[in-house]
Subunit: 249 residues, 2 copies
């Protein structure tokens, strides 16, 4: 076999799939949408939602389709971005499957109905996966970790945290997104000051909302800004955690 031919021939049983890391914040915790697999391999185990890319279908379109099928939410209302491509030869026992992972998030979504394939979908706290209570099929735990690191980094210097909030929202709602994603408490006063001074992050709607308890809070909707200048660093909080760690050791 000539080298040229070998390089041109696609590998046997090659397929391209998309997998979705769909995050939301519920009850103050970051949660991820997982399905219980209805088919082999890994039948009955937890996995990220996903599926094969169809003939002639763009990658992003396949991701939006799977997102709609799994969450019942229309395309435009959730933030969706490409995360990473995974293609280790042995990652799927069915053959050579290249998976393009996408990262999606939105406000606390209605509990998803069982998807079009007969598998049940559930919101699971990310911490349950990280501490080993739940194991995922394929290399999906690696994908989830990569998605978590991406979203933790993204909310530092973009305004996507607001995409987790159902409009209208309060500053406290937005702060709880950061606290859930980073896993650290933030000072309400300082957080508010930083958000308000970032032009175009949130725009006041002019109304107030009375919570169950406490002073009513002003309501906002998402602004036009996409990047945070200056960034909203988690460094201070992390330095605090590291200091705590040292005390313990």
């Amino acid at each position: 076999m000539s080298k040229a031919v070998r390089r041109r021939r696609p590998p046997a049983s090659l397929a391209v799939a998309v997998d979705l890391v769909i995050f939301t914040v519920r009850n103050g915790r970051l949660q991820v949408l997982l399905i219980e697999r209805g088919n082999l391999p890994y039948r009955g185990e937890a996995a990220l939602p996903g599926g094969f890319v169809r003939d002639g279908e763009a990658l992003g379109a396949a991701a939006r389709r799977e997102l709609r099928e799994e969450t019942g939410v229309g395309g435009g209302s959730l933030h969706l971005e490409q995360l990473h491509a995974y293609g280790e030869p042995g990652r799927d026992p069915r053959g050579r499957i290249i998976s393009i992972a996408y990262l999606a998030f939105g406000p606390d979504l209605p509990v998803p109905q069982a998807g079009t394939d007969a598998s049940a979908a559930h919101w699971i706290p990310v911490s349950s996966v990280l501490d080993g209570q739940i194991t995922l099929a394929f290399d999906h735990e690696e994908i989830l970790r990569d998605g978590l690191e991406r979203v933790r980094s993204q909310i530092e210097h973009t305004t996507i945290a607001a995409a987790f909030c159902k409009e209208p929202f309060t500053i406290a709602d937005l702060r709880q997104i950061y606290e859930a994603v980073w896993g650290v408490p933030l000072d309400p006063s300082n957080f508010r000051r930083k958000v308000m001074k970032t032009e175009g992050f949130v725009v006041p709607i002019g109304e107030r909302r009375s919570p169950d308890i406490g002073r009513p809070a002003a309501l906002f909707r998402r602004g036009l800004a996409k990047t945070l200048t200056p960034p909203l660093t988690r460094l201070g909080s992390i330095a605090q955690l590291l200091a705590d760690d040292e005390k313990l050791t």
Copy 2:
């Protein structure tokens, strides 16, 4: 045909490729390695180096192999990271080709010899592509733009700028990387202070280098730190550019 079967069947003539955006800084300008295509389609036009992923080959391994073939540089010495996956159905006239783009960069490399395929490789200033002097085959201009935005962002909060420098290097060498990638001049004194205060960014080698003119500069090598805390923002420079823009309008 049942829906399940349709979803499982891979598209016709599916293939997976890797494309490389290889950057370096030469003569104070950011340059990218482009090849002149020797085969159809787009024969004779400029394109990013790349090739098909072989049977059983991991994506990163394919990228490293292409990098070695095109630059003659061994794997470990250049920084290599995955950029993005491109899969628009019509992006390649030969059929459905999913391309995983990788981003690589290193110090001013020897002018690459013609690769193993008969196509010539050249360093081209990125600006020549951005201002339309050179057009690229396929969707490679989009890939290049994405790679440029990635590297501009990465040097803000990681230490990868040092990967552009041949060791040992001076603080001025490192500063010129930032200036070339961001396209803005930086204050030498303030830049030095920020770099030196970031633990593990650069470590002094204890020697000095006499340039053609001026005071000898201390020499450094890359440190162990991967992230910059605090980040080295381009905001000040950008604010300056924006102010200039406003004056002009």
